[in-house]
Symmetry: C2
Subunit: 213 residues, 2 copies
DNA sequence: TGCATCCAGTGCAAGATTGCACCTAGTGTA
DNA sequence: TACACTAGGTGCAATCTTGCACTGGATGCA
């Protein structure tokens, strides 16, 4: 019965790691961008400067983790919406419809804006912007695909993967367009722009995925 | 400026230590005595069983620390009362009076009852009862003496030490008598008994310490 | 008496954090 | 150009925690 904490060592290591990630997110939020040094971060996380590099090979890796965590919050909501959606197993378009509905309802622009702020916003245009956001979004894709396959065990895995993959890559594309058009603002106008882009994306994917009715 | 935390290593070690002490006190309070194993304690403190023995050579040492901590709470109050007492530097009996007043007001029976519970109360009479309580009270003596010397820098150190030492050893004596008489109860009757014993002690010490007026 | 069981306490090696010295690239400045 | 200064990142030894195997004494029981 001593196994209530599965390996204290692992647990405490995870604690330190998330302390670092939390501290980084705090600082980023406070300053509108990743404008702080390792020493500052280490002190905020109540951790040695060396320990930061023990957990993350570089600050960019840390920022990637922060990105993923920020996205994860929205994706949790996203997947929860799908989970609450009634299951229509017989329907051919069930998978598409439930994802599309969740995408319309979820607050994706907020997540994208957060990522932009993490990566430096519209200001000093760090060159690693693309790889970082790509990596973050790819984890989202994995989670979404897993959830879809869980809900539709009878579905063709290849078909599901193609659907999710094309939807998510489409989201990345329209996200970049959206940032280009709005600068990452979150006002009503920008949100309307997002809905426009999203509708066009969903329409396009639906056309490719489902036979025209 | 990185020295805001004076040596993180030391700080975290102290954290672990007090986590163990706190867990021990919790368990003692819950069960009315030190009736638990090391594994239970370690799990409660979220610490490895081995770490307990890294900080405390034996469980008795741990219990002593818990004793001291419990007493320290009351002694803090005790010293605070003295500190709030107006200083009468010229008076010969100032030192005695301020201690005597604080002793009358402080809730010493509660502290003694706590220690008794820690040591097993009136039940299975562990043999190490005396050394433990002696050690705990001796730390109280040190703190009290230091405070007295701080307040009366002009006083004769030997005189002050004799006063404090005889008062505290007297407290230990009447505490044992009090336990004998009342069994460590905390009702009005037992408290009256305590006040009786204390008055007799203070009178006796005053007679020896101050010339009869 | 012999045996099993429990529990405080120890020895030890592996993992993790820490502090410190050090390296290196980029940047400002005379 | 030369110099200094900052800040990310690494090597390394010391320290601490942890898990595990183990000892030894106390207790219970046949």
């Amino acid at each position: 019965m001593t196994r209530s904490t599965l390996d204290r060592r692992t647990a405490q290591k995870a604690e330190r790691r998330s302390a670092i990630v939390d501290a980084a997110r705090e600082l980023i939020d406070e300053r509108g961008g990743p404008v702080f040094g390792v020493d500052e971060l280490a002190e905020r996380a109540d951790v040695s400067r060396r320990t930061v590099f023990n957990h993350f090979p570089s600050l960019d890796d840390l920022f990637l983790t922060v990105c993923e965590d920020a996205l994860a919050v929205v994706v949790d909501d996203f997947l929860a919406r799908i989970a609450r959606t009634p299951l229509r197993e017989g329907s051919r378009s069930a998978m598409f419809d439930e994802i599309a509905t969740a995408m319309h309802d979820a607050d994706l622009p907020a997540a994208i804006a957060t990522i932009l702020r993490i990566l430096g916003g519209s200001s000093p245009a760090k060159d690693h912007k693309s790889p970082l956001s790509d990596a973050a979004f790819s984890r989202v894709t994995d989670r979404l695909l897993a959830e879809v396959l869980r809900r539709h065990p009878a579905a063709d895995p290849l078909e599901a993967e193609l659907l999710v993959e094309s939807l998510m890559s489409g989201v990345v594309v329209i996200a970049r367009h959206w940032v280009e058009l709005t600068g990452g603002r979150l006002d009503a106008d920008a949100r309307a722009t997002w809905q426009d882009l999203l509708t066009r994306l969903l329409g396009s994917v639906r056309n490719g995925y489902l036979p025209a009715t």
